[in-house]
Symmetry: C2
Subunit: 315 residues, 2 copies
Amino acid sequence: MTDPTLLVLDADPPPRLGRLTGRARIAHTDEAQLAARLPTADVLLVWDFTSRAVREAWPGEGPRPRWVHTASAGVDHLMCPELAASDTVVTNARGVFEQPIAEYVAALVLAMAKDLPRTWELQRRGEWRHRESQRVAGTRAVVVGTGPVGRAVARVLKALDVRTALVGRRPRTGIHGPEDLDRLLSRADWVVAAAPLTDDTRGMFDARRFGVLQPSARFVNVGRGALVDEEALAEALAKRWIAGAALDVFATEPLGPESPLWRLPGLIVSPHMSGDTVGWRDELGTQFVELYERWAAGRPLFNVVDKQRGYVPGH
Amino acid sequence: MTDPTLLVLDADPPPRLGRLTGRARIAHTDEAQLAARLPTADVLLVWDFTSRAVREAWPGEGPRPRWVHTASAGVDHLMCPELAASDTVVTNARGVFEQPIAEYVAALVLAMAKDLPRTWELQRRGEWRHRESQRVAGTRAVVVGTGPVGRAVARVLKALDVRTALVGRRPRTGIHGPEDLDRLLSRADWVVAAAPLTDDTRGMFDARRFGVLQPSARFVNVGRGALVDEEALAEALAKRWIAGAALDVFATEPLGPESPLWRLPGLIVSPHMSGDTVGWRDELGTQFVELYERWAAGRPLFNVVDKQRGYVPGH
């Protein structure tokens, strides 16, 4: 019996795959070769999770991988109708990014409350200028997205005594449904976008929703760039509809040097790094190896994505 | 019976003192007039808590205020041997600053863990550069100072799942004594100075102690500037004995534009603002009015400073 073929979409070999020696024939591919090689693969590991090549390259019919794993929480970059309709199983990296992203959101919330961006600017100019800052305890946050990331964000914000509401696709214990969103937004101090990108969520933070917010509100996106109408956010900041924002994800990544977002007053721009703490690549590699061992043994996989919904359902 | 004379050291009248109309003759003084006016006062309110004029102006003998209140947590700026030896009662603003300062420390810790200063620098240059950041949960902090500020800092850090040790003047339940300090420092990721400035604590963070720290450790001072040997800290940063630091307080405040601290790589400088959230002046005024009403009625005061130790004892 031949070992299954594991095709890895990435120039650099992921860590930990050495553990699969003798149990997988590992081949690497770049985006250009992906379409030609997909039919030969039993398993596809999308290690370069910034790539959108899978959507283009996925075979309409004929031989194809039986299992696709992406080293990311979101699957929007690889899902296409053909993959969704196929019997190929898709898994994601749920479990690796939640705590780091939650801490990152707390870092941004506290940095904005304590006016740290201005502190840095004044430090650069050697200028001592005392300001009053804001207390975080007792403020109100709305977290949109009730997957592992949204729930981890809510947990950390609550630990800081922020009154935090979670909003999901449907109401359930401790979670608000979409019908409550605008009311919650209208009195929020902090709005955190942590939803997967689906047809329901694309562009959900638009001019109307920014208009609902209080002038003192601040917006944070650690989900996917396309959750937000970036032009509407720019306008909301320029017109002082809201007090500030922080984006870690963008409609187009990397953000080009010509983007006006870099220099928008009141906006913090970071390069899609909220979940990436030291050791994260090792964790992703270890998680994939564990999944591969289950798959090779015919045991059930974890982190199986509902391909219609676009995320791992549960809880 | 004449109303007591309340002398206020500040150019601007503090908020809320209007409530004392008909119960106090309120007079304002600047630093220059303080010595001449002190003997006429029953109560001194040190509203300008950056002033060191009380130490100079305190009468050696003869009439003097029976009660001094300072709108600050620390009393180092006003204590002198004559005041300590007198029967004048000293109270402070314990209760106003703790939660804001604790949040500020959390903001600095998270900002350093998530590399936010570098993010701002890169944003200013319009440069997309992904980095790995650090997970805060599971790291180790040492908080020096077990007063309300130190304990609030420890509470917030623990809420972020940081393993936090408190170090005080003597060991007791949940608190380490000075004999544990160096051992704790040697494995700390975060060191927070939140102690009052006393003869015991002055200059306690010196070259030897920075040498004990791990190269990955970061140091935060929200106590008093003179807790730290600033030259030793500058050297520790320049020589990479430690990974970073944040100072909100300095030996001399305001920090002059010529200070090398503004431009020290790895150092975050902020202008003594950690405790000052919106509404803090109102809170300080309300607290003083409440103390005044007790004092005028002959009831016991709260926040009474042990003048030998230099802080409000207890817990």
